[in-house]
């Protein structure tokens, strides 16, 4: 009996860490998609959804709270998920996988729904909370990029610093960038050629507008030539809840395409950091034409993969690396001096000790001789 118990305990001891390791350190890159909801029962999502999360400002997650994590967290009933735009999340995940079947998805439901399926308001706080979740869980799920195909156009006047001042979200985007995780947002589809949606207008994010099947900029795509980072293909046949295939168009889709290509490039060039990968995509982009002119911003993955990216250091970076080298040399030098000093001290101590011993021995010998004579 005891032997059996010990055997079970030993087995558990060996199995448990292996399971934990498998869940935590998957080598497959993952994208965090922030959207409405997902029909994770679709065959094309089998083994592709690493985790489901619900983060909303309302207590309408499937568990009746404002936060939920685990299978079913981004679930909506089949009759509700097809209404009021809630199929959007499933479509976005589908478009992402069409463009990078080698990656996996962490899906975050950030849009709440009432019991009858009405969409609930989602403000900056929701986006901020979701990005923070990604920050905390990025290494656990090997998250390499974030995409959110959502936004609003409640902006300041064109020609001014029109992007709403949302400091906490901006900071989250900066924090994720410092972790080498770019955040992709859509430009919006409102035919505004001087302003892009929030949060795409946050400079530290990666903003994406959309082109049609011919690779020409869609007239619907918002564009601010000074802020917009990329254009990508925005017309797709996407799988919707229940497996129904639908035509979708917009910067939402383009965001997923660009994010999928970014991860593919990251997989191919793991030695490059996020800034270098984005730079690689920009330098190898194709030209695309639209009502607002021609822009060399259409992401071209084939060219990006071929492009021999050479990191050119700025004067500041060279100076920083010099200072770094000097600091490292100083540490080595100080260590050597400390070691030599310690050796010298030890030698002096040893010599003094030997001298003291010799003196003591001589004294004893002398005293013995004196005693003999006496």
């Amino acid at each position: 009996m005891n032997k059996k118990l010990i055997a079970v305990l030993l087995t558990l001891t060996f199995i448990a860490p292996i399971k934990a390791l498998a869940a935590d350190t998957t080598a497959v890159p993952t994208i965090a998609i922030l959207d409405t909801a997902i029909d994770s029962s679709l065959p094309e999502f089998k083994d592709k959804i690493v985790q489901e999360v619900c983060i909303i400002d309302w207590t309408t997650c499937p568990n009746g709270l404002s936060y939920m994590e685990g299978p079913g967290s981004a679930y909506m009933a089949p009759d509700l998920i097809v209404k009021n735009g809630f199929e959007h999340g499933t479509q976005m995940a589908s478009i992402f996988l069409k463009n990078n079947p080698n990656a996996k998805i962490v899906f975050l439901k950030i849009i709440g729904n009432t019991p009858t399926g009405t969409r609930q308001v989602a403000l900056e706080s929701t986006v901020f909370n979701a990005l923070n979740w990604v920050k905390k869980n990025a290494s656990k799920y090997n998250i390499k990029a974030v995409s959110m195909s959502q936004g609003h156009h409640n902006l300041g006047t064109a020609g001014t610093d029109y992007c709403p001042k949302t400091t906490i979200t901006k900071q989250s985007v900066i924090d994720l960038a410092s972790m080498n995780i770019p955040v992709f947002f859509p430009s919006g589809n409102g035919r505004d050629y001087s302003r892009i949606d929030w949060p795409a207008c946050i400079d530290e994010s990666v903003s994406v507008g959309f082109v049609d099947q011919q690779g020409e900029i869609s007239a619907s795509s918002n564009n601010d030539s000074s802020k917009l980072d990329f254009f990508d293909y925005g017309f797709w046949q996407a799988t919707s809840p229940g497996g129904v295939v639908k035509n979708v168009a917009g910067s939402s889709a383009a965001v997923q395409v660009s994010a999928a290509k970014y991860i593919a490039l990251q997989q191919a060039k793991p030695q490059l950091n996020m800034d270098q990968l984005i730079q690689n995509l920009k330098l190898s982009a194709s030209s695309t034409v639209g009502r607002q002119g021609t822009f060399k911003k259409l992401v071209n993955l084939q060219e990006a993969l071929k492009y021999n990216f050479v990191s050119v250091l700025t004067a500041e970076q060279i100076n920083a690396s010099k200072l770094d080298a000097i600091a490292k040399l100083t540490v080595i030098q100080n260590n050597e001096i400390a070691k030599a000093s310690a050796d010298y001290d030890a030698a002096v101590l040893a010599a003094a000790s030997a001298r003291d011993k010799a003196v003591t021995a001589a004294k004893l010998k002398y005293q013995a001789e004196v005693a003999k004579l006496g």
Binding site: G151, H152, S252
Partner: protein, 73 residues
């Protein structure tokens, strides 16, 4: 009597409460039929005005919030 909406019910309750408070605050010798009628009309109008102002402000704030809500792109 026709069924009242929730809002009408609230307005009616507030109006009655207001009237009662005003009436109780009057000196006994001032509690006349005429004063009572005037206060009843005033209390009703005041409660309607208060609720309407509140609803207008509330709706404006809700509308502003709705504009800041993210939507599918």
């Amino acid at each position: 009597m026709a069924n009242l909406t929730v809002l009408e019910e609230i307005i009616k309750e507030i109006g009655e409460e207001l009237y009662q408070r005003w009436y109780n605050a009057l000196a006994i010798e001032d509690r006349t039929e005429e004063a009572s009628r005037a206060m009843s009309v005033n209390a009703g109008e005041t409660s309607v005005w208060v609720i309407q102002t509140f609803m207008n402000k509330f709706n404006a704030a809700a509308e502003e919030l709705k504009n800041q809500s993210i939507a599918n792109n």
